[in-house]
Subunit: 359 residues, 2 copies
Amino acid sequence: MTTIQDVARLANVSVSSVSNVLNGRVDRMRKDTFIRVEEAISKLNYRPSHAARQLKTGRIPILGLLVPTAANPSFGQLAVAMENFAQERYGYRVLLCNTYRDKQLESRMLDDLIDFGVRAVVVVSSLSDERHIEAAIDRGLAVISFDLPVEPDALIRNDHVLADNRLAGRLAAQHLIEHGHKRLAFLTPRGQTMSRRHKVEGFLAAVNDAGAGVSAQVIESKTASKFGDSELGALGFESAEQILLMKNRPTGVATVNDMTAIGLMAGIRHLGLSVPDDVSIVGIDDLSISAYIWPPLTSVSMPVTEMAQKMVDRAIQHINTPGLAAKEIIFAPQLVNRQSVAIPPATSKPIQGTDIPRS
Amino acid sequence: MTTIQDVARLANVSVSSVSNVLNGRVDRMRKDTFIRVEEAISKLNYRPSHAARQLKTGRIPILGLLVPTAANPSFGQLAVAMENFAQERYGYRVLLCNTYRDKQLESRMLDDLIDFGVRAVVVVSSLSDERHIEAAIDRGLAVISFDLPVEPDALIRNDHVLADNRLAGRLAAQHLIEHGHKRLAFLTPRGQTMSRRHKVEGFLAAVNDAGAGVSAQVIESKTASKFGDSELGALGFESAEQILLMKNRPTGVATVNDMTAIGLMAGIRHLGLSVPDDVSIVGIDDLSISAYIWPPLTSVSMPVTEMAQKMVDRAIQHINTPGLAAKEIIFAPQLVNRQSVAIPPATSKPIQGTDIPRS
DNA sequence: TTGAAAGCGCTAACAT
DNA sequence: ATGTTAGCGCTTTCAA
């Protein structure tokens, strides 16, 4: 392994000059010194040791990212966007950890990251309770909460970056209403998070704005989900019957995310009805897969890439500016119109029992 | 920050005793010494610095993982499985990098990882050419190639862990044949990788074994894919017309992976036909989402979790045993029967032009 | 403009 | 059984 010493020797300068070159303090030396050092570096193919540097400076060019699970493509997408930008813009890498929304695991991971010298972390938890994060903040970690709204008037100790979930819910409702739907529903997993709550609120507010002709119900899945795609899909699937059997069956349903919408659509078809002819569906997330399922899912899209970049920016700022004030940063979602929404059906088709074989 | 010195002072021992405790060399000291040290550690809430340790030992408890993109759920799943096992079993973390199958990026990431002190890396590249990896191996990195078959009689310098792709192709074909299909097809993106080639070979071999009554064609998508789910979905979608317009339209189609199958199903429906009534589909991968789309996708499942664990085991072994001989390790896939395969239709329904509105 | 040297926190060889 | 100590490769103050 070649060290800074080797470079210094070859270039006939002291290690401090090499160090200065490494750290961009080029003004402090003659041009030819700089050139000799550069040459030596490239001739030896020298690469500085992060470990040694970190031992001195206390920092390592790594950002932490805690997600419920990378197997869920929406978090995978976030990870990719962050990794890209962090690397390109700042030369930082991203250490990805799967928390399964387990608080204990989460705390342990945070501690671990600190031990590695990581100074800033993005946490996607959606748990409304952030107490377990406080400890990490106390230890000097810069934490950025993703998709976790700030309680009104709460004073925050760390950044919160999120999409306007109320607007997302509103957009979904408006789209259905514009297509003539009068009986709406919003499907969400049991186990509320702040962001889910906000989606519901926005959805209901839009319904309310639409006047007396339009009504809406909030449906909580019977089982709770913890994370992951399979569970959310299952949960949507299961809920189909519950929705289709309602006294006043809704003709338009929005869901808390795309995976649930995809499961719900499967469930509806399983019961012999069709989307969007019998029921219209709107998702929230706009997963890339949502364009390729059948029917292509109309969904509310979150600007994940921009959010990822903003979070990286803030993380680096916090590292470089200890004591930087915490901020809440909100992004606007947008509806992406595809084919899972149509005008409501004239009549309400009965469902087929699940034990009746489909033709 | 509390250091090993602080612990030594509080416990009234030397730093080496603390270090010994830290590294499990407990036999070398009296019990009460050990206890005093333990107490001091927990009282001070002491956590050793990875950086300092790494500087001394040259190692850091991190494994590298290079995937085309974490936004593709099959790689996300792999990452989760590895991360879990590496952490639980060995206390290692996983540093995830997205390569986009770009060789240059890949080499740079490998170099980067080495700079961080990472000693073992799992590479999911599927590029048949591994020359760019050689350099990293020369620098002492233990590389484990995932899903990259070894050429017959090639001498390998690094581990290769993969599923039996020929068997996967064979399983897909057999399943269709068992359901009475006589005209089969295998859909793969343009741009062959070794693993895709093997799937095709296995598929054709099974068709061949079935005798004269059964025929098969290999269909390459018109456009090439580089990675990611959206592209693979698009690619399946586009290929639907090509397949349905064939002179001897196949009644059963297998695809190189689930995302392509999902896109293909969407494309088929877009053209007015139905799965599995008009065309049966088998995927390969068994993504968790595949159970929740409509119809639930019959797919060949790869034992991702086991493979992930084996790779972690091997990675650690290589770290602990420099010079350990390279191995090719192959896992068996399994067919998961769902609802995208039925008996072939009696007649071949014509497709609807894409500009004819569906009812 | 350059160099010498201390020391970041730890491990491990060596001494006691 | 325990302690002393020399570095690992780098940054950074201070001196020249």
